[in-house]
Amino acid sequence: MEIIQTDIAIVGAGGAGLRAAIALAEMDPKLRIALVSKVYPMRSHTCAAEGGAAGVIKSDDSLDLHFNDTVGGGDWLSDQDAVEYFINEAPKELIQLEHWGCPWSREPNGSVAVRPFGGMKIKRTWFAADKSGFHILHTLFQTSLKYPSIQRFDEFFATDLLVDDGRCQGFTALEIRTGQMKQFQAKAVIIAAGGAGRMFPFTTNGAIKTGDGMALAYRAGAPLKDMEFVQYHPTGLPNNGILLTEGCRGEGGILLNKDGRRYLQDYGMGPETPVGQPVLKTMELGPRDRLSQSFWHEQQKGNTVSTRWGDCVLLDMRHLGEKKINERLPLVRDLCISYLGMDPVKEPIPIRPVVHYMMGGIHTDINAATPLPGLFAAGECACVSINGANRLGSNSLTELLVFGRKAAMSALAYMQSGLSTAKDAALAAQAKDSESRIQALFDQPAGQETINGLRQEMMHTMEQGAGIYRTGEGLAATCDKIAELRQRYVGISINDKSRVYNTDLMQALELGSLLDCAEAVAVGARDRKESRGAHQRLDFTARDDQNLLKHSLAYYHPKEPPRIDYLDVVITKSQPGVRDYSGAKK
């Protein structure tokens, strides 16, 4: 097996991975950096983010306000030291992107424009029309081309971490084009492999968001943190889950039920604000978890509109007018017309909540370091945790930058701290095992199970038991089902026996990652007997700060469900309070 010798290897070339690579190249041009990704960098799902990235820049804003919005929005499950670091670094990172050429939207005087976003008290979301993530990703990718020391391995699929002498020393990855396994040897590894929304049937996440990075770390012994917190975005297109950015509401779009009522006022987010004049942190600009939960209640009451794609509510943007929609929300208009055949300039658009983002992920400390020495993580696959129980829209793109860079700094410091000599034979033996595991998928005779069959059952049980509202009973059933699917997964085989660009094989591996992550979600949710942020239990409706102001940590077991442990939340200056999104006293 070919061994690729590097200093620091990064799994994932989305926003977080690219930012980390650039930081490393800038800190030390002599470093050998391997940037490994299962897709070409610009295909990474960061490209799909529409709304924008939060960072304090305007004079009416302050770091404290951003802190309070983030911590309150996260229902006090965020680590406040990490949040503090994050909000301090955020403006610098966004300006850095500006210096690299990111085409941020501008004010008439040439300064960067900001837009309102749900759960934020002040306008602080930097945006590039409604293609913010796309522009961030391409700016980073193009900038990365400046640095010859960033060696890219595009279309390489990482399969297993190599851990010896108590530290992570690289990983194995399949070269997709040839089907050959390569051994990446590194002094430190950064995982930046994105989210895992594909465990649910209805999601804004692209096909590549299959939790591979989380599974890599988890199987190697690093725990997954707070996996039970899954964010639904309140406004997805009902037929295929395509997202309509929160910017729609930020710009003044309103949500209506079948009677034309702005129903959010009935769920503690009123009183009604004037149409087209959105008021921050109330009504349509309430936080995502509350909005998605209100949909569920309206559906229970029979107040939703029934469409051929199921129950929906309506997002009305007509009053914004064609000019503003074209200027601020061109992609939204295009998506509605293309995929739904409806024009937001002329008619309200049916929408429903859709799985969007994993607050949980690989457990890291404030330095983006995991408990496994030599292993670092950043971006959606990591849980640092700034997002707590509910991420505020537009904090995540900024998080990629801040903690992508932090992971690079920490990995470099670790590498320079004096490491034991690598034992080549031990690493080679592990790499060989990893290769055999893949070979077994080729050799296994065709059986009853199909990849698609198992995947459908997984998505179904996740939606049934671990959706917007959960119960102990439903979650227990989902846990059992996932455990069963994990067992049945052992029997799968692949039909495609070719070595060249074998997507059958990749889907099999991705399903394995998703099942491991799904089990951590379901078990974490079953054991969290409270309601907090995005985790809502019908059988435990209150938040329980007495016992559960804690992060959950799921530890992998190859055959059994994960062991769940708990870790105290870091509180520095904001004691848990009430999340108030009514407009009454503002």
Partner: protein, 247 residues
Amino acid sequence: MSERQIELEVLRYDPEKDSAPRFQTYSVPCLNEWVVLDALNYVKENLDTTLSYRWSCHMAVCGSCGMMINGEPKLACKAFIHEYSDKIRVEPLAHFPIERDLVTVIEDFIGKLSSVKPYLIPKDDKPISAGEFKQTPAELIKFKQYTLCINCMLCYAACPQYGLVPEFVGPAAIALAHRYNQDSRDGGRDARQEVVASNEGVWECSFVGACSEVCPKHVDPAGALQQVKVASTIDWYKEHLMPWVKK
């Protein structure tokens, strides 16, 4: 929901088994609102797991799913079934070598993109602490359109010149160079001219305009090429006829 049976004729090629590409036909029950990518996914999930193609976002932004659909370069996730008859032919993007089935080898394109120095080469240096560079909306508009390229390569598949002269740097890469040249913060045009204004650069373009017609993001690479040509011609005149005038 109306459903229609579509004959999907897909190019198949596995270099380990096949001496030449062949076609395989699948009968797919399609919903009217589907795109061709949905039909391919139906095949992959229900009929034939060995079919290989690239896709991710399903919303025309990641640029993965470019392919020839009834002979035209299209994004499979933006090619609507209702715009086609009951028989649809799907092939890999033209002008790129086939790797496997609908997957092409795109290294040539990636290399060209990198060759034009597609990053900001700042006119003025400024530390982060000094804040952002100012750029008015009018200055932004000058290059905004050229930032919208998703690197889907449909324009390369449509470009007759790239088909004939593979060395041609091509539409998307030149449009990207133009994007940075037009950015009020940038001072790197001279550095980019070396590649852009070379024989394999703009001068290869015969201005057929097919690239702009197929571009799913309205980047108008043909317009960019034309502007670069005009600017490079002016450079040439300045250098050769009026050497005393500085560029």
